[in-house]
């Protein structure tokens, strides 16, 4: 890992930051205001907060968080449905850890579990398949939450379950894909963004090229970035460079991992099992063709088709600004509840729960 240590080299970081500040000053002069860049990925949000970049660079530019935390963008109705699976007799709910504490309208998986539901955490959907194979008397419903990075793995797990002849493994798919949400943001006339820091691992799957529309159709610069502090500083440096020279391109700042065409094997697995359909996003509402539904050919592994759950109309918590935050309209610190009624110990909205949520990141690293 010596090589990767280099990507955290403080001397290079300081040097590059000076360069960024110099460029940012020139951009501020050119625009007559601070440049506003959005980081689309929740892991970037956390990395930026942890490295202190938001405050270091705050005088020169604004780094705004976007809809990149999959748990956060999961709609209330979907969370209520996930919780409802936990109440079905004979069902064990399998989930990534982040999802457990997210409050639905009335309760959460965590509280369901305290009340006796069988809710199990898995790092990998493969482990959930293995669990189902070892417990044939239980129905494993795995909660598929995540973007293009997670969906191929869940798709592979479903294919594995079929290959092993498992009858007690199914997935509730709340998977989403990133480009349609970015189009929704780009189409919003209230949002004045000057560029995007693009999600490195989503790009690893779908390829740098998949984001070309940002420059071609909307005339904005964008840079695919890795997750080390130097990667992010470099991405900002490149965005500023494009603004100065009046260019708009989608650059690849993460060439050690991201290929032009992405990872075709992972994509093939994803589309073997899933098909693109409409999806509801917290804050945005319905975004056409932005979700991943399990194909008819894998219906036996689709929890939504196999189990009937009825939910009450979702109830939204009063005062939670998570929706506007995900659309890039607000910063966590603009929310009235931030740090008072809403804390990581007592989260009101998902942005304070998930380790990738902007509110949790700001609370941990940027509270003054």
């Amino acid at each position: 890992m010596q090589l990767l240590e280099k990507f955290r080299d403080p001397a290079i970081g300081r040097g590059l930051l000076e360069k960024v500040v110099a460029r940012a000053g020139q951009v501020r002069e050119k625009l007559g205001r601070r440049a506003v860049f959005m980081e689309v990925c929740g892991t970037h949000t956390v990395a930026i907060s942890r490295a202190g970049l938001r405050s270091i660079l705050g005088e020169y530019m604004e780094l705004r968080s976007g809809p990149g935390c999959p748990v956060c963008v999961t709609d209330y109705g979907d969370i209520d449905r996930m919780v409802a699976f936990g109440a079905l007799p004979g069902v064990t709910v399998g989930t990534f850890g982040d999802m457990v504490r997210v409050p639905g309208s009335r309760t959460s998986l965590e509280r369901q579990r305290a009340a006796g539901a069988d809710v199990r955490l898995f790092y990998s959907p493969r482990d959930a398949v293995a669990w189902a194979a070892a417990h044939p008397g239980r129905e494993m419903v795995f909660l598929g939450v995540g973007f293009e990075t997670t969906a191929p793995g869940v798709g592979a797990a479903i294919a594995e379950a079929r290959a092993r002849g498992l009858k007690n493994f199914s997935v509730f798919s709340a998977h989403k894909i990133v480009p349609p949400a970015m189009r929704a943001i780009l189409a919003d006339p209230d949002l004045k963004l000057d560029g995007f820091i693009l999600p490195g691992h989503v790009s690893t799957i779908i390829g740098r090229r998949a984001f070309d529309f940002i420059a071609a159709e909307y005339g904005l610069p964008a840079v695919v970035s890795g997750f080390e502090p130097l990667d992010i500083i470099d991405a900002v440096y490149r965005l500023l460079g494009q603004l100065l020279s009046g260019e708009a391109r989608v650059e690849n700042g993460y060439t050690r991992l991201v290929r032009e065409e992405g990872n075709p094997r992972a994509r093939a697995q994803m589309y073997e099992v899933f098909t693109v359909g409409d999806a509801s996003w917290r804050g945005f509402g319905l975004i056409p063709q932005s979700g991943l539904d399990i194909r008819e050919t894998y219906r036996d592994f689709d929890a939504a088709a196999r189990f009937e759950v009825t939910i009450e109309p979702p109830r939204l918590p009063k005062g939670c600004a998570c929706g506007d935050l995900l659309k890039g309209k607000l910063a966590p610190t603009d929310c009235r509840l931030f740090g008072t009624a809403c804390t990581p110990e007592h989260p009101v909205g998902p942005c304070m729960v998930s380790s990738e949520g902007a509110c949790a990141a700001y609370y941990q690293y940027e509270r003054r």
Partner: protein, 85 residues
Amino acid sequence: MCLGIPGRVLEVNPENQTAVIETFGVKNTVSTFFVPDVQVGDYLMVHTGYAIEKLDVEEAEIRIKLWEEILSDATPGEVSRPGDR
């Protein structure tokens, strides 16, 4: 679930398409289903137990060199041309 974990390959098991990787001293078995031709010594980026890509060491070194160049050529306040690659 979005956290990517990089690791160095210690052992490859082609028969079940898995590999044992080491990440800062911790060993893990991961699926290599999405990444063909994994060799011992490769670096993999892993999401939820699946390797999503092989890390290109040469590209990583080029990037570091590029930064060192940017810094050594630097005069304060200079605007260098973007789009080096």
